[in-house]
Structure formats: structure tokens, C-alpha cells
């Protein structure tokens, strides 16, 4: 290239872009700087490994193609994909086109305003193909913008009942984003119309416009306009929700390198919060919204409050922690963990330990009914019967009352108190010499698995019973009853146990399906995690969940969590039992 192409209108864009890049570089460096040493080492180790490649693949699939959103709704997926992937294509193809033309180096604004600097039909390698490809990519983005625009008026168009409520600042940046592409279309079409060039979109539109509009007066202001909206968008990005675009990539890399959310370091949490695109998919998943019309506590609003330094006490507490939002979050933000971390800040830290359980025994299998197991004696009695029939050498660890597993305290944000309880239980379990720990309560189960560091097999009773049935240690007779299974949040979404309860239930009853199963299972409403929802409201949730479960008139609603059982059995007329009770009953009928 003989002479560097320049025009003064590129300055707003150049300024905005440079400032944004500088800001992001500083931000990234700051994050990495603040990470604890072991996490820094993880980055060092992971950087030149397959993990980085995997992260790139994930960025392509999720940040550009938006595979997870496609799974939620195809229209919504297409909207997000067309915006992200379309823009990506515009940048990549545009860069190749401009650099091919320039035959080497060119200023970084050159590809963006290529059509202005090269308005005529240039002749270089594949030039005509690039023109058409660029128009195709622009059309793709414009389709997305059109859908996003329509979604603001009627979210049903893209399969959403409710979309995120926006504030003034969000809207300003949103509109500048929407304007970028129509501005580009108009600017390029004007130039094409004046010089008889352009592809199927800009060329055609330019020709039509040239008949009715004084294009020569419009061209320059439009390119100025294009540069200015880009500048506004870039400058507004760090404080708007569009910060998610550069941050989500960081999150994906961090996650692939093995950096985890932990209480003592806030960096990953900050990255997660900034990665939230406020797509609002969590809103329709939240039963507080769909059933109780509570519309300020969903993950998207909660994260927004944290980001804006607004009081989030009520929102942190008003959550069932059922995990329905996290299971569909396209960014994979650990929403429950963030909510839980934020509860730490305002819960009292002093706690009195309950009475000491001094009992100790040796056994191969240790059974822990848990507090909830004791509050539902039908379940623990059924388990004792099953354990006796199994022939296993077992010890009912908390038969005379025991120490809580610690998870309710953890959920309430009292981490230190929870730790004390856990240490006590851990010592008792290890001293028993057991190789298997069986528990009836998914709440206990999750904490035993994730926090206790026990090098023994930890089983929920549905897993244990499944093993007994498989090995023939337990004999049952199938009951002539139609049963529907309710996936408890903590066991299903929380611990990934979906099949074992179904296998056991199929052996003792005729299992039927429900419209909300597995990952989509509804919360029973009895959640221990919500400290503010009044009982009457919880009961309302329970009734609605029960209605969904009993839609096909089953004889029995079976579940695998004492808390779900207690909650659901008060919410309808259909018999509610724990799977252990059904099995114990099926053992009698020989």
C-alpha cells in the first residue's frame, strides 16, 4: 500500500476501541494478579496445555454458536447466535478481505471502514466472494437485531415468557449496539450506490437508494455515525451488561484451567458476575416468578444488584436454591454458590453446638438418617428394615440422635459452625472403620460427598438399595401401583442422581412419567435454603408442584428426600412416600 488510508471520522471508533482494549488488558492483568498463588500456578500449567484448546472450543460453541441457549429454545438460540456469530464473521472475514487487499499491514480501523476506503469494485484475489460473504454475515446480524428488537415488545417471539427488565443505562448501550448494524448497512449501501459496487444486500439497497435519495450528501455523515455508535458502544461496554462478551471468555479459560469458586477469594466470583449477559433465561425457570409472581430475586437481578453495589440482602435470602436457574444458565455461572457466598456477609457467626453424641461402634456400613430422617420416622424405620434384611454389618450412627451434617448451617452462611459439626461427624465415621456411608437425606448426602473428604463410598439410600437389588441381597415383589417420581433438587440437579431412584422404583412399582423430570424437576417448596418466604407461600409452591406430579393420577408420588416427602404430603391427596418405604413394603409382600 502506497499511502496510509485515513479520514478523520475513524477517530471516534479508534479512540473507543483503544480505550476499551487498554481497560480490558488492565482488568485481566489485575484479576490474575489478585488470584491466590495456587490458582496462578494452575494458569501457568494450563496455559500451554490441551485445557486452553478445550477452552477455545468451548468459547466457539457457547459464546459464538450459543449451543446451550439452542437447547432451551431454538428461536432464542438463533437470535443469540446470529448476533454473536454474525458479528464474529464480519470481523474475521472483514479482516481477511482488508488484509488481502492491502497485501500486508494496514491500520486496525481499516477493515472496519474498508468499504469507505475501497468504494469501487476492487479486483484482488476472491474479492467478489468476500463482498457477498460480508453481506451475508451482515444480514445474519441484522436478523438477530430484528429479533432482539421484537423481543423487547413481545418476548414470546423467542420463546420467553418474561425478559429481563432493563434500566436506563442498559438501554442506552443496548440501543447503540442495535444501531451499529443498521448504520453499517446504510453507510455501506450508500457508498455502494454511489460507486455501483457492493454485494447482494448493500449493492441492491444502494442501487434502490440511489434512485430516491441524494446519496452524495449522505455518505460522509453515515460513516461518521457508524464510527460514533461504535465508540459509544465500546465506551459503555465496561459498565454495561455487554462486559459479558470479553469476560465470559476469561471465565471459560479459568474454568478449564481448574480455578474454582472459594470463600477466600472473590476474583472468580467477580468474573462470573460480569459474565452474566442478562439473557433472562433464569427468569422463566424460577418458581418464585412463575408460581408466586416474585420478580426481583431471580439470578439475573441478584447479580445485577451485586454489580451495582446495591443492597441485595433480601434477594440473597429469597431463593430456594433449587438450582433450576443454574441448570440452564448458558454461561454456566455457579449461581447457588454466589448466592451462598453473599449470605456470609450478614449472618451471625456465633453458634452453640447441640448435645454431644458420644456413641461409637465398629461396622462395615454406617447409616446416617439425618435430622430430616428423624422427623420422618416412616423413612428411617423402613431403612432399618432394609439394612437388617441386607445382611450387611451396619451401625445406625445417629439412632439416639446425632450431630447435624452441617449443611443447613452452611446454606445459612454459617461456615465456621458448619465446619465444627462436620469435623465431629467425620471423626465418628472414620473411627467406625466403615467402608460405606448410607444416608437418607440428599441434603446430608451432598455435603458428605463434597465437603467431608471421606475416602469411603458415600451412598444415598436409593443408590444403596439399587446395589442390594442388583446383587440379589434384597428380594422385593412388585406392587400393583402406578408411581410417579419426584426428583429432589439436592439429589438430582445437586448431585446428579437421576437413574438409581428410578431403577429402584421400577422394581417395586409401575413407574410413570411426569412433565417436569430430572433437570427440569420442580422444587417441592420446602427448601431449607429460603429464609424469608412465608410458610403459606411455600405451601402454595408445594401445591402447584403436587398438581404437576399428579397430572396423570398416579397412585403414589415417590420421592427420595424426607424434606420433599414432608412438604408434598401436606400439599395434596395423593399418597406420598419415600422410595425406601415403598421398598420396605414390597419386601413384606412375598
Amino acid at each position: 500500500m502506497t499511502q496510509m488510508p485515513f479520514d478523520i471520522f475513524v477517530l471516534p471508533f479508534t479512540l473507543g476501541m483503544s480505550l476499551l482494549f487498554a481497560y480490558l488488558l488492565l482488568k485481566y492483568a489485575h484479576w490474575i494478579w489478585l488470584l491466590p498463588t495456587d490458582d496462578k500456578l494452575r494458569i501457568l500449567k494450563g496455559f500451554f496445555s490441551q485445557k486452553s484448546l478445550r477452552a477455545c472450543g468451548e468459547i466457539f460453541m457457547e459464546s459464538l454458536l450459543h449451543r446451550k441457549i439452542f437447547r432451551v429454545d431454538k428461536r432464542l438460540g438463533f437470535m443469540h447466535m446470529s448476533l454473536a456469530f454474525g458479528w464474529f464473521l464480519l470481523i474475521v472475514i472483514g479482516a481477511i478481505e482488508a488484509h488481502t487487499y492491502a497485501g500486508g499491514s494496514a491500520p486496525f480501523y481499516f477493515p472496519i471502514f474498508f468499504r469507505f476506503f475501497v468504494p469501487y469494485e476492487a479486483d484482488f484475489f476472491l474479492s467478489s466472494v468476500y463482498v457477498q460473504l460480508m453481506d451475508a454475515a451482515l444480514l445474519l446480524v441484522l436478523t438477530g437485531v430484528g429479533m432482539a428488537f421484537a423481543k423487547r415488545f413481545k418476548s414470546n417471539i423467542v420463546g420467553m415468557k418474561k425478559t429481563t427488565k432493563l434500566r436506563r443505562r442498559d438501554k442506552a448501550v443496548l440501543y447503540s449496539l442495535w444501531l451499529i448494524f443498521p448504520m453499517r448497512l446504510l453507510a455501506e449501501s450508500t457508498t455502494s450506490g454511489l460507486h455501483n459496487s457492493g454485494g447482494f444486500l448493500t449493492g441492491t439497497l444502494g442501487t434502490i437508494m440511489s434512485y430516491i435519495l441524494p446519496l452524495q450528501y449522505m455518505e460522509y455523515p453515515l460513516w461518521w455515525g457508524y464510527s460514533i455508535v461504535l465508540c459509544i458502544f465500546f465506551l459503555g461496554l465496561p459498565t454495561s451488561r455487554y462486559m459479558h462478551i470479553p469476560t465470559e471468555m476469561v471465565l471459560i479459560f479459568f474454568r478449564n484451567w481448574g480455578i474454582k469458586l472459594r470463600p477466600d477469594n472473590p476474583i472468580l466470583e467477580e468474573v462470573m458476575i460480569l459474565s452474566c449477559p442478562r439473557c433472562g433465561i433464569c427468569i422463566d425457570r424460577c418458581q418464585l416468578n412463575t408460581n408466586l409472581n416474585i420478580n426481583d430475586t431471580q439470578a439475573v437481578y441478584f447479580l445485577q444488584r451485586i454489580r451495582r453495589n446495591e443492597d441485595y440482602t433480601a434477594q440473597a435470602n429469597n431463593c430456594l436454591m433449587c438450582g433450576r436457574c443454574a441448570s440452564v444458565c448458558p454461561v454456566g455461572i455457579d449461581l447457588n454458590a454466589i448466592r451462598n457466598r453473599r449470605r456470609l456477609n450478614f449472618t451471625p457467626k456465633e453458634v452453640v453446638l447441640p448435645y454431644d453424641n458420644k456413641q461409637q461402634r465398629q461396622a462395615k456400613v454406617v447409616y446416617f438418617a439425618g435430622c430430616m430422617g428423624h422427623l420422618t420416622p416412616h423413612i428411617k424405620n423402613a431403612m432399618v428394615k432394609i439394612l437388617q434384611a441386607s445382611g450387611d454389618d451396619f451401625w445406625f450412627m445417629d439412632e439416639e440422635g446425632g450431630v447435624c451434617c452441617g449443611r443447613p448451617m452452611k446454606l445459612a452462611g454459617q461456615v465456621d459452625a458448619a465446619r465444627q459439626l462436620m469435623d465431629k461427624n467425620r471423626a465418628t465415621i472414620l473411627q467406625s472403620g466403615a467402608t460405606v456411608l448410607v444416608t437418607s437425606c440428599p441434603i446430608c448426602y451432598k455435603v458428605f460427598k463434597e465437603e467431608y473428604n471421606l475416602n469411603i463410598s458415600i451412598l444415598h439410600h436409593t443408590e444403596y438399595i439399587e446395589q442390594l437389588l442388583k446383587s440379589g441381597k434384597l428380594k422385593v415383589t412388585r406392587q400393583d401401583m402406578m408411581a410417579v417420581y419426584h426428583d429432589p433438587c439436592e439429589l438430582g440437579r445437586g448431585s446428579g442422581i437421576y437413574e438409581q431412584p428410578r431403577n429402584v422404583l421400577s422394581a417395586v412399582a409401575n413407574l410413570t412419567e411426569s412433565s417436569n423430570e430430572r433437570r427440569d424437576s420442580l422444587c417441592c417448596g420446602g427448601s431449607l435454603a429460603n429464609l424469608t418466604l412465608p410458610s403459606a407461600k411455600k405451601h402454595e409452591l408445594a401445591k402447584q408442584t403436587m398438581q404437576v406430579l399428579t397430572a396423570n393420577n398416579p397412585d403414589l408420588v415417590a420421592t427420595a428426600c424426607p424434606l420433599c416427602k414432608r412438604t408434598l404430603q401436606r400439599a395434596g391427596d395423593t399418597l406420598v412416600m419415600d422410595i425406601a418405604e415403598v421398598v420396605a413394603k414390597a419386601m413384606e409382600c412375598k
Binding site: 428423624h374 422427623l375 420416622p377 416412616h378 440422635g401
Partner: protein, 337 residues
């Protein structure tokens, strides 16, 4: 002669029937079971002064033995319709009755303690409800399921009352004094038996109730512990183990006992089909509600439909009888307008 149909033959129904007949009305007293008396027929003694419940009931019934009262036993009201001339009531014996006014006196339903699974009612044989204890006192047989005499009996207050989790926020009023009375009766029969009451608050609302509570502690050595029982379980030797928190000293406690008596609360019977057909209004506590809590307590939102007794709120026998007479007078005022 105006005809009043009274639904429910418990103390409220019986006494309002007697009063209405005296005021010159013809009355049909419709009772679903085989005899009159309702829950009162299952009671042993009444508080505060230990009056024999059977005596009170037989006097009530004697009062209602009047020529203008037609008692229909083993008869259930299937449905009721309001029309221009009054009410048409469909009965379980295929018959219909027409009436000029309707008095609902369907009483209460005892809270099903099995709904609080943690207390083990229906699982452990020696967990009983307060009405079952009343029967034990009436028959004079305090023995446990295995035929032996209990050494320690524990009463648990507020089962199904003042309990948000079962949706009953209200106080059932009579359970506190019933527990005190039953504990005293046990002591009278067998002073060897230890008795404990676990409560949240002691609500001694009636005259001489407070004195009875004091007597229970001073004379009969009934022990009162402030704190609700969280769970009950059966030991290997068949005794019950209960867990609670003594909230006065702020310490959790465990205790062995032989019998656990759950002081079951009162629940509404206002979900009856006929009431739904007639659209009789209910309050948040699901009991029938009045058009005016002060001046027209026995009037419902439906013209010609009145209520009496515990179908409107938990009440003791004294208040129920007074309320039944008030209902009769309200009906009389309605027709004298």
C-alpha cells in the same frame, strides 16, 4: 310455624334446638352419627371444676326432648339449595327437607396428628392424641399398648395449632387447659405416674383456669417445660425418646417417657359440600366467618344461614352452649323483623 334445620347434633346443635323450640319454632336436628353429643360424648370431665361431661350432655339432651324437635340420627346432609321459600336440604336417606332457616352447628374436626410425622403418631403405639387420652380417663384404663402402667406421661401442647407449617396459625384455645386437666386426672388416678407438659405458651383464658394451672404445679407436681418437642422415636426397649429444647434455659434436652399425648388442635368443618353450594363465607383460618364479629356473630353472609359453636372458631363447652343460645335468638330476631 317456621321450620329451622340444624345441621349437627353436638352440644351447639342440641342447645340451639332446645332454645328455638322454646321460642316457638319447629326444628329438625340432623345428626350424621347414631347418637347426639358430638365430641362431648367422648369427654371425661370438664374444666375448670371437673364436672362430669356425661352429666352435662344428658341434661342438654333432656332439655331438647320437646315435641317440636325432630331428631334425625344417622342422617347426613348431602347438599342444600336456597330458593324463594327458604332451603331445600338433600339428606343421605334420599329424603329432602325444606326449611325457612338453616343453622350450621357442625363443630370441629380434630387435627390428624399423623400429619406431624415427627411425633410418630400411627407409628409408635404409645403416641396418642388428646381425645384418646380422654377415653383412657373415661374408662379408667391408663395402661399402655402392652398392658403395663406408664411411669411417665408427656403432654405436648399446640399440635396442629399455632403451627404455620400445617397452615393453622390460630390457637385452638382449649388444649392448654385440657392438658392441665388430663395431667391432674392422671395424678388423681395414679399419683405414681410422672406427668410433663411441653408448651410454647400457656394460655389459660377462662375463669379459674389459671388457678387450675397453679394447682397442677403446686398440688399435683405436674412439670411444665417451655419448648416444643421436635421429634419422638421408639427405643429398643419400647420406650419413647423425645427431643426438645428447654427454651427457658436455652438447652436441648432428651427424655424417655412411656406415653406421649399430642394435644391435637381443632380444624374447621366448613369445607362441607352444602356450605360450598350455598357459598357460605369462610375466614383465613377456614372456619365460617360472621358478618360482624361483635354484633352479628351467628349471622353468615348468606341470608337465612346461621352458625353456632365450634364451626365458627375453637371454643370450650361453656362458650359453645352460650353461643348456641345466642344463635337461636339471632334466628328469632331474623324472623321477628
Amino acid at each position: 310455624m317456621k321450620h329451622i334445620a340444624i345441621i349437627g347434633g353436638g352440644p351447639a346443635g342440641i342447645e340451639s334446638a332446645a332454645s328455638l323450640a322454646q321460642l316457638g319454632y319447629r326444628v329438625s336436628l340432623i345428626e350424621k352419627s347414631a347418637e347426639l353429643g358430638g365430641h362431648l360424648s367422648q369427654m371425661f370431665t370438664l374444666f375448670p371444676d371437673g364436672r362430669n361431661a356425661a352429666e352435662v350432655l344428658s341434661e342438654l339432651i333432656a332439655h331438647a326432648r320437646q315435641k317440636n324437635i325432630n331428631v334425625m340420627l344417622n342422617t347426613e346432609v348431602i347438599d342444600a339449595q336456597r330458593n324463594l321459600s327458604g332451603f331445600t336440604i338433600t339428606l343421605s336417606n334420599q329424603k329432602t327437607v325444606t326449611a325457612d332457616a338453616l343453622l350450621i352447628a357442625t363443630g370441629f374436626r380434630l387435627f390428624n396428628v399423623a400429619r406431624k410425622e415427627e411425633y410418630g403418631y400411627g407409628i409408635y403405639k404409645n403416641v396418642i392424641n388428646s381425645l384418646q387420652m380422654e377415653k383412657k380417663l373415661r374408662t379408667g384404663d391408663l395402661t399402655m399398648a402392652n398392658g403395663q402402667m406408664p411411669k411417665r406421661v408427656v403432654f405436648l401442647h399446640c399440635v396442629g395449632s399455632r403451627d404455620e407449617k400445617v397452615g393453622n396459625n390460630y390457637c385452638s384455645k382449649v388444649c392448654c387447659v385440657t392438658a392441665v386437666k388430663q395431667a391432674i386426672e392422671i395424678k388423681k388416678m395414679n399419683p405414681e405416674i410422672e406427668t410433663f407438659c411441653f408448651y410454647m405458651d400457656i394460655r389459660m383464658f377462662g375463669p379459674y383456669y389459671e388457678e387450675l394451672y397453679r394447682e397442677a404445679q403446686e398440688k399435683w407436681k405436674v412439670v411444665f417445660v417451655r419448648g416444643k418437642i421436635s421429634e419422638a422415636a421408639e427405643n429398643i426397649d419400647g420406650r419413647l425418646q423425645i427431643k426438645a429444647e428447654d427454651t427457658l434455659i436455652g438447652k436441648p434436652l432428651r427424655m424417655q417417657c412411656d406415653m406421649l399425648v399430642a394435644m391435637a388442635g381443632m380444624e374447621s368443618t366448613a369445607d362441607a359440600k352444602f356450605a360450598q353450594t350455598l357459598n357460605v363465607a369462610r375466614g383465613l383460618n377456614r372456619f365460617y366467618s360472621s358478618t360482624d364479629n361483635y354484633l352479628r356473630y351467628n349471622n353468615t353472609n348468606v341470608e337465612g344461614v346461621f352458625t353456632a359453636g365450634t364451626c365458627t372458631a375453637p371454643m370450650n363447652i361453656i362458650d359453645t352452649i352460650a353461643n348456641a343460645r345466642a344463635a337461636a335468638l339471632s334466628i328469632h330476631q331474623y324472623f321477628s323483623k
